[in-house]
Amino acid sequence: MDFNENFILGCSAIGAGLAVIAGIGPGVGQGIAAGHAAAAVGRNPGAAGEIRTMMLLGQAVAETTGLYGLLVAILLLFVKPLLP
C-alpha cells in the first residue's frame, strides 16, 4: 500500500489535533490547585508566599502530561515522522 503524501500530512494534522486534547487534564488539575491555594491563602494570609511557591511547583509538575501531548503534536506537524 502506498499512500499519497498529502493524505499522510492530513492524517498527521488530525493526529496532532487529537494529541493536544491531553491539555484538558492539566487544565483541570491546575485549576483545582489554584482554587485550593486561594482557599489556603484565605485561611492563612501570612503564608501567601509559601503557598504561591508550592502552587506554582505543583502546577508545573502537573503540566507535564499536557506537554507530552503538545510534544507529540509538534513532532507530527513539524518533524513529520510519518512521511516516507
Binding site: 494534522a13 503540566e63 506537554l67 513539524f78
Partner: protein, 245 residues
C-alpha cells in the same frame, strides 16, 4: 503550493539547523545552532563569573554596587538549597547553583534572539542524566545496601521481589520525565513565538513582547525552579536520614 500554510518551511522556522559538518573518527558530526547558542550562553556566564570573582576579591566589608548583586545571587541560591535539603545542603550548593544559573540564562536567552539551548533534547537529557547519577550516587553513599534492596522491593517484603521491575521502571522514568518536562516547556514557547511571528507577519509588531514576558521570562524561570526543586527533592528523598559512609 501542495502543502498547507503551517507546513511550509519558509515562514515558520524554529528547528535546529546544522551549520557545518566534520568527520569525527568516521562519523559525520554536525555543529548546530544549539552549539552556537550554548557557546554564547557559556561565554556570557563565564564573563560574569570572572567579573564576579574579581569583584569579590577586592570587595570590602561594606559591599557596594556589583558585589551586592553577586552576594544577593549566591545567598538566594544557597537559601533555596538550604530550605529544601536541610542538613545535607552544603554539599549541593555548587551543583544546584550552577544548574540554576545555566538553565535560567538558557531559557531567557530567547530574549536575546537566540534559539534557547534548552529547546534541544540533546541539552536537557544530559542535565537530567547528571541529576540521575547524583541521585543514585547519594543513595549508595547514604544508605546501606540492604536498605536499597528493601526500597527496591518496597511494598512487598524483601524476600519477594515481584514488585522490583515496576520500581526499576519508575526509577528509570526520573531522568526521562525531568528532561522532557524542561524540553517540552521551552520548545512549546519557542514554537508558539515562531508561529506568531511567522504566520501573522506585519500584525505581529510590538505586542508579542508581552508574550515574550510570559513564555521566556515567566515560564523559563518557573521551569528552572521546578528542575532544581525536583533535583533537590529526589536527592533528599534518597538521602533520608541516612549517614554518609
Amino acid at each position: 503550493m501542495m502543502q498547507g500554510i503551517l507546513l511550509s518551511e519558509s515562514n515558520v522556522d524554529f528547528m535546529i539547523h546544522g551549520i557545518f559538518q566534520y568527520s569525527f573518527f568516521g562519523h559525520t558530526v554536525w555543529i548546530t545552532t544549539t552549539h552556537v547558542c550554548i557557546l554564547i550562553v557559556m561565554l556570557i556566564l563565564t564573563g560574569f563569573a570572572i567579573a564576579a570573582s574579581r569583584a569579590m576579591k577586592k570587595g570590602g566589608e561594606v559591599p557596594g554596587g556589583f558585589q551586592n548583586v553577586v552576594e544577593l545571587i549566591v545567598e538566594k541560591l544557597d537559601g533555596m538549597v538550604d530550605v529544601s535539603m536541610g542538613k545535607a545542603a552544603p554539599r549541593f550548593y555548587n551543583y544546584i547553583g550552577t544548574v540554576f544559573i545555566f538553565i535560567l540564562f538558557s531559557n531567557i536567552s530567547g530574549l536575546l534572539g537566540l534559539r534557547p539551548p534548552t529547546a534541544d533534547y540533546g541539552v536537557t537529557l544530559p542535565l537530567a542524566l547528571i541529576t540521575f547519577a547524583m541521585i543514585r550516587y547519594n543513595k549508595w553513599k547514604y544508605q546501606r545496601p540492604m536498605t536499597i534492596w528493601e526500597d527496591l522491593c518496597s511494598p512487598l517484603p524483601k524476600w519477594l521481589p515481584i514488585w522490583m521491575p515496576i520500581n526499576l521502571i519508575s526509577t528509570m522514568a526520573v531522568p526521562v520525565s525531568l528532561s522532557l518536562r524542561l524540553f517540552a516547556n521551552v520548545l512549546s514557547g519557542t514554537a508558539m513565538m515562531a508561529l506568531i511571528y511567522g504566520l501573522l507577519g506585519w500584525i505581529a509588531t510590538a505586542w508579542p513582547a508581552a508574550l515574550h514576558v510570559y513564555f521566556d521570562l515567566f515560564s523559563g524561570a518557573i521551569q528552572t525552579y521546578v528542575f532544581c526543586m525536583l533535583t533537590m527533592t529526589y536527592i533528599s528523598n534518597e538521602i533520608g536520614d541516612g549517614v554518609r559512609r
